[in-house]
Amino acid sequence: MGVAPALAWTIALSGGGAALAHAVERGLRRTMPDVDPGPAAPVQIGVERAPAQTDPWFYSAAPAIALFGVALALVVIPFGGQLVGADLEVGAFYYLVVLDFVSLAIALGGWGANTPDAVEACYRAVAQLVAYVVPLGLAVIGPLMMARTLSTVAIVEAQHRAGLWYVVAQPVGFALYIATGAMQGYRAPFTEPFASQIHGGVLAAYGGAQALVWRVALSALLFTIAAMGAVLFLGGYAGPIGGPIGMGLKTLGVLVLIVLAGRFFRARSTAETLALSWKVLVPVGLLNVGLVGSLILLGVGQSAFR
């Protein structure tokens, strides 16, 4: 796509994705009344908040950086062979890097707002970044190894030519992706940076238009994580359920899975999240890489390359 169509497509996708994720979470909220809503908590867009003694540079930049990071990540998610903002050679790696900007935005906004709750949210968000980034990388590496490429379009094509959705070959990797996706999106059970105990953390310090930007960014974040999961593990826009509609349905499925899977676990504190990441998720991830390597040597999913 050219620059202008890609820009329009990314904006449309961010808005549409945010609306979809928001609607799904609102709908599923009724089935999980006692789960901490985290970033999906209702935001008062009508109220203007102006905390005293903010760091003006950080406080105003934070929501924009969050939305920017999510929009940049949506550029590489393909909804069709040509329906992608830009098919980067290093698409999957770029996706991993760019979504870290959301954690940066929460840290900046939390510190900039200079209220005790917001600064607490800043610390928790940085700790959660440290917790999710290594297991997420290990989960994503499985499909990258099987598809032998970093480009998102090429990963979908590889699954299509091999006639195999990678979730079938790597169920452990998929489960790991769902878990770290919940960590990355601050959804249950990893909602500590946005817990109701600290009144929503960063969200409590913002009102008006900036609160709307936060809401769009956080909902679109969940949509992006689900879309990437569909691309990596469920065959994206290819396969029996294909095209943009199929991709949308798969994204919806992964979204619902991430939200519903959280209801079975109580909310984890930040220290517990870090311990879980270090003691459980990283070893499972390494095991997954070993498993996938063995499967590749046995020829699973490699009919695309014969």
Binding site: W57, D100, L104, N114, V126, S269, E272
Partner: protein, 235 residues
Amino acid sequence: MEIAPALQIVLFAVFAAISVLGALGMATTMSMFRSGVFLMASFFGVAALFLLLLADLLSLLQVMMYLGGMLVMILFMVLFSSDPGGSMMAGMMTMTRVEKAFSRGLSRPSPMATPHGAGGGMDMAAGHDMSMTTPARKWARHFGWAVAVVLSGALVLRPVARATERALPDPRSPERIGDLLMGKYMIAFEGAGLLILLGIFGAVLLARPSERPDPEDRGHLRAAVDAPPPPPEEG
């Protein structure tokens, strides 16, 4: 991706300015948090320069490593310094023009709100020198200027004559780097892995709770960490 030459020069100027101003801001601002963020911005500027130099994997690697690394470094600074937000120092120190530019917005004349973190730090003894820089700063500034002028002058007056530009590099950089890492530089790769492992061991070992008794005021912090999290509030 072909970029027009005029656009290349503009992009280079913008990102070079971000890199240099970011590093300058890191060295001169009164707020330690801002210092960390300025350093992050400088690294992102250099990553953009890497993109202009057609090293895409390397630029992404740079962003990923330093985003996470700087955030954690900032967290450490906040834990161990007495005025991480800089508003106390910005309020009471006489700053040079550069420092004032990078510390704008930090100090407010409001008497009620407490500045970031100040007063909670450990070494707030009366009469303590709160400056961010050592006494060597006076000649360090001249030293820095001297190095910058000498190096830039040498580069401008005697340009690198042999810099004839060859063909464009291979765009499939992940494949090429992967081949090299697994082939020619396997020892370096494994050595780096071993070094990382030793670094992890060392850091965890050094930061273990020690036999020394914790300071008195850390008792309640330790108890708060060990206690189970309270249940979420209703409503």
